[in-house]
Subunit: 434 residues, 2 copies
C-alpha cells in the first residue's frame, strides 16, 4: 500500500524546509525590526466565525467538520477573523498600538489541480487601535523591509496603493451610490482576472447607464494621485477626509523611505467586504496577475466580534507565490545543511572517545555528528563533507599518547593538532583558529 500527501498539500523534506525557514526567518526579522510581536491562534475555529465575516457562501471553500458534541468547526482559511476575535476579547486591556504579526498555517478547499495549494503559510502583519494613516504606512513599510531583505528590488515588484473611500467618492461623482459601491469594488477587483468582454458585459449591465466600462477603465488607469486627491476633495466631506488620509499616508511612506516602492493605482480595491480605507497589493512587475500580498484598513471588523470598535490595518502574504517569484527571478537561495564538526576515529577502539567528545561539544552548543558505522577514515571524511561539516576532528593514536586531536578545516584544508582539553574548554574558540 502506498500513500502520498493529500492533493494540494506539501511535504517539506529537509531541503524544502530549509527554504521555508529561510523565508520565515526573513518574515520574522522584518516584523521584529518594526517592533511587531508574534501571536498565534487555533488551526480551526467555529464555522460561524467565518460565516459571520464572509457570509454563508464561504462554507464551500472551507474544510469543515463537527465534533462529537455537534459543534461545527472549520480549518482557518485566513488569520484576520482569529485576530479580530482575539483582540475583541481583550480590547479593553491591550495597550495601543497593538502591533502583531503571525506566520499561520491555513487551508482552503480549492479544487485539487496543478499549482493550486490547499494548504499554505501566510505572513500576517496588523496594527490595531490606530486611526492615523501612520499605521497603514508602517505595515506597507514592513512589507518592503522584507522584500529588500529577500533580495527583491523595485524593478521586481511594486506595491499598488489606493483608498476605497477615494474610489467610492469617484464613483459617487458618476452617480453610483455608496450602497452600490461594495459590489462595484468586487467587480473592479476581478477586472484583471476575467476577460475584458466579461468585465464590460457585467459592468455595463449594472452601472453602464452612469459610466460605461470603457470610460471607467480609462478613468481608473489614468488617475494620478494628485488628480484623484483633487477630485475627491471637491466631492464633499467624505472625499475630503479620504484625500487627507491618503495624502498623509504618502508623506509618511516617503519619510519611512519606501514611497519609491509604491504606486498609486485606483484600480486596486481588494475583493473583501471588510476593507474600509486604504487598500494595497503587492504585484510582480512581470508576468503574473495575482497579487503577492494584499491588505488594507478594516476599521469595523473587530466591532463585529466584540463590544468595542478597534480600528485596524494589515496584510497577508502567502508563502508559495513569493517563493515562486524568487525562484523565477533566480533569487531563491538553496541553503545547505551544515554542522560545526564531524568527529572521526582512526580505530573502532576509540569510538567511545568519539561519543564522549561529541557529548561535550554538543553541550557547549556546537552542532556535532559522527559516523554511525565504524568505517575507514577516508569514508568518515566523505561523510563529514556530505553532512556539511565545517571541521573534522580526528581521534587517533595521538589522543591515546598525549590527549591530542587533529582538527581539519574542511573549507580551507588547513589541519592542526590541538590539545583535547583546550577544545573541551573553548570549542568555538579553538575551532575558529584552525
Amino acid at each position: 500500500m502506498k500513500f502520498q500527501a493529500p492533493p494540494g498539500m506539501r511535504d517539506f523534506y529537509p531541503e524544502d524546509m530549509r527554504v521555508q525557514n529561510w523565508l520565515f526567518e526573513r518574515w520574522r526579522r522584518a516584523s521584529r525590526a518594526f517592533g511587531f510581536e508574534e501571536y498565534e491562534g487555533p488551526i480551526f475555529e467555529y464555522l460561524d466565525l467565518y460565516r459571520l465575516k464572509s457570509g454563508a457562501a464561504i462554507v464551500s471553500e472551507l474544510f469543515h467538520f463537527q465534533d462529537r458534541g455537534q459543534r461545527e468547526f472549520a480549518i482557518r482559511p485566513e488569520m484576520t477573523p482569529t485576530l479580530a476575535r482575539m483582540v475583541a476579547a481583550r480590547a479593553g486591556a491591550l495597550p495601543r498600538p497593538i502591533k502583531w504579526f503571525s506566520l499561520p498555517r491555513m487551508c482552503r478547499a480549492e479544487k485539487p489541480q496543478r499549482g493550486r495549494l490547499r494548504e499554505f503559510f501566510q505572513w500576517n502583519v496588523d496594527i490595531l487601535g490606530v486611526e492615523d494613516p501612520l499605521a497603514d504606512a508602517e505595515v506597507i513599510a514592513v512589507c518592503v523591509a522584507f522584500l529588500r531583505d529577500a533580495g527583491l528590488t523595485r524593478d521586481d515588484v511594486v506595491v499598488r496603493v489606493s483608498s476605497r473611500p477615494l474610489v467610492a467618492a469617484a464613483l459617487a461623482g458618476y452617480g453610483i451610490a455608496a450602497a452600490e459601491s461594495e459590489q462595484a469594488f468586487e467587480l473592479i477587483d476581478r477586472h484583471d482576472r476575467i476577460s475584458a468582454d466579461e468585465f464590460t458585459t457585467k459592468w455595463d449591465e449594472a452601472y453602464g447607464n452612469r459610466i460605461s466600462a470603457a470610460a471607467l477603465t480609462a478613468f481608473l488607469a489614468r488617475a494620478t494621485l494628485q488628480a484623484a486627491l483633487d477630485s475627491a476633495r471637491a466631492a464633499g466631506p467624505a472625499g475630503r477626509a479620504a484625500a487627507d488620509q491618503l495624502g498623509a499616508l504618502w508623506s509618511q511612506l516617503a519619510a519611512l523611505g519606501v514611497a519609491d516602492w509604491c504606486q498609486f493605482d485606483l484600480r486596486t480595491v481588494r475583493g473583501l467586504a471588510y476593507y474600509t480605507g486604504t487598500v494595497f497589493e503587492l504585484h510582480a512587475r512581470q508576468g503574473r496577475l495575482r497579487a503577492l500580498m494584499g491588505g488594507g484598513r478594516y476599521d469595523d471588523l473587530t466591532g463585529l466580534l466584540g463590544t468595542v470598535r478597534v480600528p485596524g490595518v494589515g496584510f497577508g502574504m502567502g508563502d508559495a507565490p513569493v517563493l515562486e517569484l524568487l525562484r523565477a527571478l533566480g533569487k531563491l537561495p538553496t541553503p545547505r545543511h551544515t554542522i560545526d564538526a564531524f568527529i572521526i576515529d582512526t580505530d573502532p577502539g576509540l569510538f567511545a572517545d568519539v561519543l564522549r567528545l561529541a557529548g561535550v561539544l554538543r553541550a557547549a552548543g556546537l552542532a556535532v555528528d559522527y559516523s554511525y558505522k565504524r568505517v575507514a577514515v577516508g569514508r568518515q571524511f566523505s561523510q563529514a563533507a556530505a553532512r556539511g561539516a565545517r571541521y573534522a576532528i580526528v581521534v587517533g593514536q595521538e589522543y591515546l599518547d598525549r590527549q591530542e586531536l587533529a582538527v581539519k578545516n574542511l573549507a580551507t584544508g588547513v589541519q592542526r593538532a590541538v590539545a583535547a582539553d583546550a577544545l573541551r574548554h573553548d570549542p568555538a574558540g579553538v575551532l575558529g583558529q584552525v
Copy 2:
C-alpha cells in the same frame, strides 16, 4: 455576538507566544546540536493512513472530514505516520542515517474538559536507517540535551528505558507467548493509569494462570538491568539479541554523558503496537503519572507504507506537559518583549525626522519603534519603557542645530550626545557605547 477559541484550543497572545518560542527555540537548538534536520508535513492526511497504522478504532479520536471529491481526511494526531510515509516515498534516495526532527502542530478529538487539549505542538525526533542501538542512544541524548538547556535536572525528571523484546522474553519465561505479548504490553502500559484492582482483575483474567498480577508487578518493579539482561540471555536467541542491544545502548548512553538521567524500568513498555525494540518515557520525579515524552524503536513501520523496510527510532514530546512541569517547578521564564531603540521627538515638527531615522535604523537590522501620537517627551519616555526599549533616541533642537541626537541607555540611565551620521553608519556600535 461574542466568539471564543474552540474548546481545548489555545490562543497564543504575544506573552504566551514568547513562551512557546522560548520552548521551540530550545527544541530546535538541541536538535541542531545533534545534527538533526528539520522537516514538516501536511496538517491533515488521508484518514486511511491512520486506519492502517492504528486500526479503525482510531477514527473516533480524530477530527476527520471529506472534501467535495468524497476523499476522507483527518487532522494529524501524531507525526510518525507522516514521517513513515515521507521516508517510504524516498527510501531508496535518502542518504543514511536519516536524522530528522519536526515541531508539528496536531489535534486529537478529546472530550472538551479542563486540562485536556485538543490541539498541541510536539517535538518529534527520529533516526531512520540505523539498526545499531547508537540511534536509540542519540535520540535519548538529544532529549536530555534539551532538558538540561531548559534548566531541568536529574532531580526533576528521569528517562525510563526498557526493551519490548526483553519484556517479551521475560513473559515467555512465564509461558506467555509472543503472539499474546502485544496485548500484555497494552495492559502493562496502563498499569499506572488504572486502579490496582482493575489491573489485577484484568491481568489475572488473561494471564493469571501463568503469572499472577501480584507476582508480575513485583517482578517488573524489582528487575535490575543486570538481572534482566542475564535472564534474557538465558531465554534463547531472541532474548540474547535483545540483551545485547540493551547492554550496548547503556554503554553508549554512558559515553554520551546521559546515562545518569536514565533508569532501567521493565514496567515501561509503551501502548502503541508499532514499537519493536527499545522503548522509553520521560517522567517527572514528583507528582504526575503521564509521561512527558514517549518513544522507541519501530523497525517495521516504514515497510508497512512503502516497499522498503527502513528501521527507525524516535520520540514525541508535547509542549503543554513540559511547560506545565517547568511552571510547577518555578523554572518557566517569562520573556519580555524588547526592542533596541525608541525614537522620541521634542516637537511635532521633528516627527518626519523620527520616521526617517527609524527607516535607516530598521534597515540596519535594529528593532525600532516610536510613538504613534505626538505627545509630551515624558510620555514618549514612558512608552519607550513600556515597549521594552533598550535605548531612547531623542530628536530635538540639537538635531536641527548640529545634527546631534541624545541617546539614553534605559537600563543604566546613562545619556550621551551622538552625531546623527555616526549613528546612521554604525547603529549597533554607537548604541553599544552608551
